[in-house]
Symmetry: C2
Subunit: 262 residues, 2 copies
């Protein structure tokens, strides 16, 4: 089973990509909706939550862990890898590799939560791969609540996106990493604001590709994973809003199972 | 000591009002910043959090509890009152009483989080006091993140407030209850949008008045409360953002003490 966790609903964009790239694999998802969002919280708190979430997924039989939350990937990846002896994927590295491989001018923008941007992880990883790259990042804390409210096409959302992206547009970046799993839902207005020439990198697709490549290399592990196409969705708080948004994101009726967080 | 809890920072508007109406009383505040916000979560989860928070404040010596969060007041007041044998105040009843006593047309609007509005508590309490009253309520889920971002005067905030309030303006309400402790920080633009004739009721002031009246009646309890003017501020997650906003709200430097939630 592939175990995936996120602070809430955003990680379902990764589930969707995994379903597409690795069809039939069993998936177990945990959305920490009782403590969402992570992006405004301190790194100590997010680390604690990430360790608890991983432990939960492993207890349910996960053999591979995907941290489908940029904030948790930014601040808790090392702690999780140190504490658990299974393959761990996060959403930062695949997006960074893809951005370096596809950017012509090596002028890369990143948008994310306050915690992700503050961690400086994207910048660090990009510079490790190519010290020549220019990196500009911008925290966009209001985009998560706007997405969770379903305000995907409202003029107010448009204005807020415009305001956030303006400093990146001025820098004439040619690549923009969506450093938060909620943001792919705003991809259209982000693309429109940045212009057609800017390549928008969706980390959910990048990570699904990496998991696929890893499993192709590690046949032993691949054989251990069940491929009955079962998906289980656990959340620490059941709300109508989650059910509604999740159903529309995955385009299928999902059954939410409740579990206590922490 | 007067114990106050909130999901995060909003309850500091109540602390400020208590400092004004009951100067010198010792106050202990708990902001559940590791699990904030409550307004988008289910009532079961909010109840669990409210019981834990009350227990924490009592363990620190609180003799009176103020639930300074509309969402927790809406869904958890009864559970808290059943489980603990101390005077419990919440922010709903004082605002409801004030609205009934001051509204001429008895045409009252309420704005709050999704959870507060869904609970129907304001409508129920208003109708209990006066079945003739007309009540219109509106969930405004984006106002909390906008306040927490400090976007108090941005045009986008103005537009979003306008959109949320429009249906209430059409109803020609003469009184508007700010059913969330974050909203007093947006009072100016709310008043501007609704017009000068609409009476805006700030529940933080209403509850401070009620606590004061209660203590004047219950001299025994009043004598038990320490009046050395000490204030302690506990949070379940320490972030720069909280410290910054809290300092500007209370106009004094505050020392945050960290404690695990749950």
């Amino acid at each position: 089973m592939i175990g995936i966790f996120d602070s809430g609903i955003g990680g379902l964009t990764v589930v969707k990509a995994l379903m597409e790239y690795l069809p039939g694999y069993d998936i177990i998802y945990f959305g920490d909706t009782a403590r969402t969002p992570y992006g405004t919280k301190s790194s100590e708190t997010v680390k604690k939550y990430a360790l608890e979430n991983t432990e939960f997924l492993l207890s349910k039989g996960a053999k591979v862990i995907v941290i489908a939350c940029n904030t948790a990937s930014s601040v808790a990846m090392e702690s999780v890898a140190e504490n658990f002896d299974v393959p761990i994927f996060e959403v930062i590295t695949p997006a960074v590799e893809l951005s370096i491989n596809t950017s012509h001018k090596l002028c890369i923008g990143i948008i994310g939560t306050r915690a992700t941007v503050k961690s400086g992880i994207y910048e660090k990883k990009i510079k490790e791969l190519n010290p020549q790259a220019k990196v500009y990042s911008r925290a966009c804390p209001l985009l998560v609540p706007l997405v969770e409210e379903g305000w995907l096409k409202k003029p107010e959302t448009n204005m807020i996106v415009k305001k956030y992206l303006h400093p990146l547009k001025v820098r004439q970046i040619d690549t923009l990493i969506l450093g938060c799993t909620h943001y792919p839902l705003l991809k259209n207005i982000i693309q429109k604001k940045m212009g057609k020439k800017v390549n928008i990198i969706d980390s959910s697709i990048a990570v699904a590709n990496n998991v696929k490549a890893f499993l192709e290399k590690h046949k032993n592990l691949d054989n251990m994973l069940s491929k009955k196409g079962r998906c289980r969705f656990f959340v620490s708080d059941v709300t109508e809003q989650f059910e509604k948004t999740a159903t529309s994101m995955l385009k299928r009726k999902i059954n939410l199972e409740h579990v206590s967080s922490g």
